[in-house]
């Protein structure tokens, strides 16, 4: 990066740690960016004339006489139409071999939206996946993570959701993405012919971990440009937030902060909230929806990362392998979309809430029947029927390879009910039964 006139240059570093270096400097602003020995750094502490810089890519090889240039501004990203279809690193530099873009420079991590200037989210996002659309309906302006163990195909499901959602703009924030997954996203976007709608800010495992701290806010600043300035519906994908949090804990540890639960910094909640709360529905029609991935360790949601996330986000989506059908499903018990009440039965067909609840309840009965079976107790006729229902429900609705519209999902639900149960067993409101109960007779 070239130095501009008026920028202060220093060349005497007084202290170097693994992630930071300190020097005597004056007139430096808090959170200002700097170049240290050609590497980007940010001011994290000022005491008198002693300034401490966090060097994003690490301090390996930095000499005490390295050149330090203060850039006079906080971290920025260029926003504009030209972002479309491009891939950038955590600093917003192109990594797709194409030239730098022209655009307006904006500070990342800007202020929050005034709560009274928000609108209550009310627009459904259709994904075609029944485990989501039927049971855990997503709404624009929502923030929701996938809670998944590392062996589950969360990136594939997220890419699928992104491609099917009718968003004007999709912004991928990749943190600690493996090179393979990066190439996967790239090819999915290219094959879908959706490249003009896509923007990606990617930090791969090959990049220094601390750099990924910039990714979510950079992606969200770009999202705010499209949502606020251009009134677009923007979908932001953040994967993997657990690796982002790991980077936070590295930095806080090197800054000698006292760790709280699970070695995470005490400010983890505020830090995650500053990211997720960027999800918003504006009255003007623009919106930012955030779908994130939080990888779990052995399904443990009490760990500080998923725990703090769960308190911030509006629900969570759990993926699980159903061994009965040999497919990955969206777990109807542990998944939750807090905002679904705003759209189901209102923007979707009137029977939606009841069909959803009845199916999940019958699926729970099946789970009880299975426990009974495993414990060697005899199964009743009802138990047998719930088990048959569960298998078909799982296969034709919960599996992630399902791609139908919501009405078809509801019709499928009614078909399964009538095939396996009496109306009394399903227990849906009488008016709805009369209207939607299929004419064909039940099994056996």
């Amino acid at each position: 990066m070239q130095t501009k006139a008026g920028q202060k240059i220093y060349s005497k570093i007084t202290q170097i740690t693994k992630a930071t270096c300190s020097l005597q400097a004056s007139g430096v602003g808090y959170e200002e960016m700097a170049m240290v020995h050609g590497r980007l750094a940010q001011v994290v502490k000022i005491v008198g004339d002693r300034v401490t810089l966090q060097v994003f890519s690490g301090t390996e090889g930095i000499p005490t006489n390295a050149e330090v240039v203060f850039l006079g501004h906080p971290p920025m990203v260029k926003v504009g139409e030209e972002l479309a279809g491009r891939f950038f690193d955590a600093y917003g530099k192109p990594i797709d071999g194409k030239p730098e873009i022209n655009g307006e420079e904006r500070e990342i991590g800007g202020p929050s939206v005034n709560p009274v200037r928000r609108k209550q989210p009310s627009e459904l996002i259709a994904t075609g996946i029944a485990g989501i659309d039927l049971n855990n309906t997503l709404v624009t302006g929502q923030k929701i993570p996938f809670f998944a163990d590392p062996d589950q195909p969360y990136n594939q499901v997220m890419a699928m959701v992104a491609m099917r959602a009718k968003a004007d703009r999709i912004i991928l924030g990749g943190m600690g993405l493996s090179n393979d997954d990066y190439l996967f996203f790239k090819s999915v976007f290219e094959n879908a012919g959706a490249l003009d709608r896509i923007i990606a800010f990617v930090n791969t495992t090959e990049n220094p971990p601390v750099e990924r701290l910039l990714v979510p806010q950079t992606a969200l600043t770009a999202a705010e440009y499209f949502a606020v300035d251009r009134n677009e519906k923007v979908l932001v994908l953040l994967t993997d937030m657990t690796l982002y949090c790991d980077a936070l804990s590295i930095v806080s540890n090197r800054m000698d902060q006292i760790p709280s639960k699970d070695s995470m910094p005490g400010a983890l909640y505020s830090d995650l909230a500053s990211i997720y709360e960027k999800a918003v529905q504006f009255p003007s029609g623009g919106s930012i929806t955030i779908i994130a991935v939080t990888t779990l360790s052995g399904g443990d949601i009490t760990h500080a990362i998923p725990d703090n996330t769960g308190y911030i986000t509006e629900g969570q989506l759990f993926l699980r392998r159903d061994t009965d059908i040999g497919k990955v499903i969206v777990d109807p018990f542990r998944s939750l979309s807090r905002l679904k009440q705003l759209v189901i039965g209102k923007k979707t067909r009137v029977d939606h809430p009841q069909v959803m609840n009845a199916a999940v309840r019958l699926y729970a009965d099946a789970a009880n029947a299975r426990t009974k079976m495993e414990n060697g107790f005899d199964l009743s006729d009802y138990d047998e029927r719930t088990l048959r229902f569960a298998k078909e429900y799982s296969n034709s609705l919960l599996a992630i390879d399902v791609n139908v519209d919501v009405d078809t999902m509801l019709d499928t639900g009614w078909k399964l009910f009538s095939r396996h149960f009496t109306q009394a067993e399903v227990g849906i409101k009488q008016e709805l039964m009369q209207k939607f109960w299929p004419a064909e007779s039940r099994e056996g």
Binding site: G27, R118, T302
Partner: protein, 588 residues
């Protein structure tokens, strides 16, 4: 002359300021960053260095930036026009901020300075008054908003004059008082008070003796909260904390509701903004928003202001309490406030307590809860602040410091249980782990037995016993198998299930079931306990489950029907028939 200073150091939102004069602990100062003045609070002083927490982002702040001290602590502005407002944690009126994004350093006046209020005097010239005495009244929405002698006025005064009835603005003089030395002081409709200090303009704080009806059966019937009492709701995410708080805000029997949204989701506040102006208040027939004030510091707003927000809310509650009103203060969630304290304690490099929270967390929480209470004002009018806070325990573990500290301070404990939430038994308040200390108070017992039914309190304890015995029976059945226990165990378990399904569970989204008046709660408990006390005849355990399911189903239909309507009575008659099928009649 006001003390000034210069920024000497910056670590996130902790700033060190070199000062040139006296500074007091908790004094407010403004740091000038490129022409924008950022409000801050002094939290520690060492020699000439004041450590201040900035209520905004410190981005671009530099060493050497000028600082002005304000000479007072963090204050709120009190006067007519607070009802129905949406404030941030520092009492800025959010609706007055034009921009989509919150602008750093933008502070808006909390009241309407142009509005005229119809003032009616209460006090007369010559009367002796002191802080909190009522001088006159204006109508704010539907409440009589008292204009009082400012809380900061110490000692006794005599009234020289009170304005005549008429239309006045908030800054107009409405009274002139003379102190003991003959000095005159004017009173307007507006006064200021530092949020960290409790308002003590009352004669005495009494032990609470009556209950505050919330319309939520599992609270009112099983673990009632007293008017002027304190309670808290801990629970993991996804257990229905927010739905429960919103239900309390909608249906609780209070004159004014203050909701402090402290470090929680912005969309939840938007829900209140959107719904409360539309929903009817069943007591006054007006809109719910007319009795509600929202203090909102959502999780992405500056952390230091989060701590301030709960104090701002409490001080506003104390102001309205001094008017003789019953206030319900809800804070969601106090854990976020504790986390804000932790972040600052950490930056100050204080030695940490458990889970890195500050050592004095318990004391801070206890002091705050102590500001609630049932009081008798100086003019012998009763008034109260009932406070209910939620706690978001890390990992759902109730042994963490914030839950434990709060447990020491609050008198009601409403534990939200994950297993109940998983099985959709809402509200997910665990009936066995939760408690209300007020139920043990003699005066509360007396009040309940007189107001509801002479046998009410014994019946409440009986229901708790039945629930506990039911759970024990359920565990036995699970261990030994359905046919490994006597039939009586099944009956015992299902009787507890009736209480659970009919009394404890409540449909927060159903128009009728969402709030139950106490008279209806009495009726239902009476019916349910009648069944629990009866014996039934079963030949095998397989008959027990379907029979009680029929009873529960009929009861649930009753819960969904208008009280004492024809449908309700018909269902009640059906119930009688179902019971007659198997009830064993004892010859007395």
């Amino acid at each position: 002359m006001a003390t000034t200073g210069k920024v000497a150091g910056i670590i996130a939102n902790l700033v060190m300021v070199e000062v040139d004069g006296p500074v007091s602990q908790n004094e407010i100062c403004y740091i000038d960053v490129g022409g924008t003045k950022l409000m801050s609070e002094t939290i520690k002083i060492v020699g000439n260095t004041a450590y201040v927490q900035v209520f905004e982002s410190t981005r671009r702040m530099r060493a050497g930036n000028p600082v002005e001290f304000a000479g007072h602590m963090l204050e709120v502005t009190l006067g007519p026009g607070i009802l129905s407002r949406n404030y941030d944690g520092l009492q800025n009126d959010l609706d007055k901020m034009e921009q989509v994004f919150l602008q750093r350093g933008e502070y808006t006046y909390p009241l309407d300075e142009n509005k005229k209020w119809d003032f009616v005097p209460i006090a007369k010239a010559g009367e002796r008054v002191s802080a909190g005495s009522w001088l006159g009244e204006v109508k704010e929405n539907w409440i009589g908003h008292k204009i009082m002698v400012p809380f900061a006025f110490e000692g006794e005064y005599s009234i020289k004059s009170v304005a005549a009835a008429g239309s006045y603005g908030i800054h107009d003089t409405i009274a002139v008082l003379t102190d003991a030395k003959g000095q005159e002081r004017t009173v307007t409709m507006v006064q200021k008070w530092p949020v960290k200090l409790a308002v003590r303009a009352y004669k005495e704080k009494k032990r609470p003796f009556k209950i505050m009806e919330t319309g939520t059966r599992t609270i009112d019937t099983l673990n009632p909260i007293a008017e002027g009492g304190t309670g808290f709701i801990p629970g993991p995410f996804g257990c229905g904390k927010t739905v429960l708080q919103h239900s309390l805000a909608k249906f609780a029997e209070a004159d004014m509701i203050i909701v402090a949204a402290c470090g929680e989701r912005a969309n939840e506040v938007v829900e209140i903004f959107t719904e409360f102006p539309e929903l009817d208040d069943p007591r006054t027939g007006r809109k719910l928003m007319e009795r509600t004030t929202i203090i909102c510091n959502t999780s992405n707003m500056p952390v230091a202001a989060r701590e301030a927000s709960v104090y701002t809310a409490m001080t506003i509650a104390e102001y309205y309490r001094a008017m003789g009103l019953r206030i319900l203060l809800l804070a969601d969630s106090t854990s976020r406030w504790a986390q804000a304290l932790r972040e600052m304690s950490n930056r100050l490099e204080e030695l940490p307590g458990p889970d890195a929270f500050p050592m004095d967390l318990s004391a801070i929480v206890a002091n705050f809860y102590a500001r609630a209470g049932y009081v008798i004002l100086n003019n012998d009018q009763p008034a109260s602040i009932t406070f209910i806070g939620t706690v978001s325990p890390a990992g759902g573990n109730l042994k963490e410091p914030v839950t434990e500290s709060t447990k020491k301070a609050a008198r009601c404990f409403y534990a939200l249980a994950q297993p109940r939430a998983d099985s959709k038994r809402y509200p997910a308040i665990d009936p066995i782990d939760s408690y209300s200390k007020y139920l043990e108070y003699d005066e509360v017992q007396k009040y309940l037995n007189e107001k509801i039914h002479p046998e009410w309190v014994p019946n409440v304890y009986l229901s708790k016993d039945i629930l506990l015995r039911g759970r024990e029976a359920f565990e036995q059945i699970n261990i030994l198998g359905d046919d490994g226990v006597p039939i009586e165990y099944h009956e015992r378990y299902w009787k507890s299930e009736i209480i659970d399904f009919v009394i404890l569970q409540q449909d927060g989204f159903d128009k009728i079931d969402q709030s139950t008046p106490i008279e209806r709660q009495r009726f239902m408990l009476d019916r349910v306990l009648g069944i629990c006390k009866s014996s039934f005849k079963f030949d095998s355990f397989e008959e027990v489950n379907p029979y009680f399911k029929r009873i529960i189903n009929t009861f649930k239909q009753m819960n969904y029907s208008e009280f004492n309507s024809d449908k309700f009575k018909a269902l009640d008659a059906d119930l009688g028939k179902i019971l007659a099928e198997r009830e064993v009649v004892h010859a007395n």
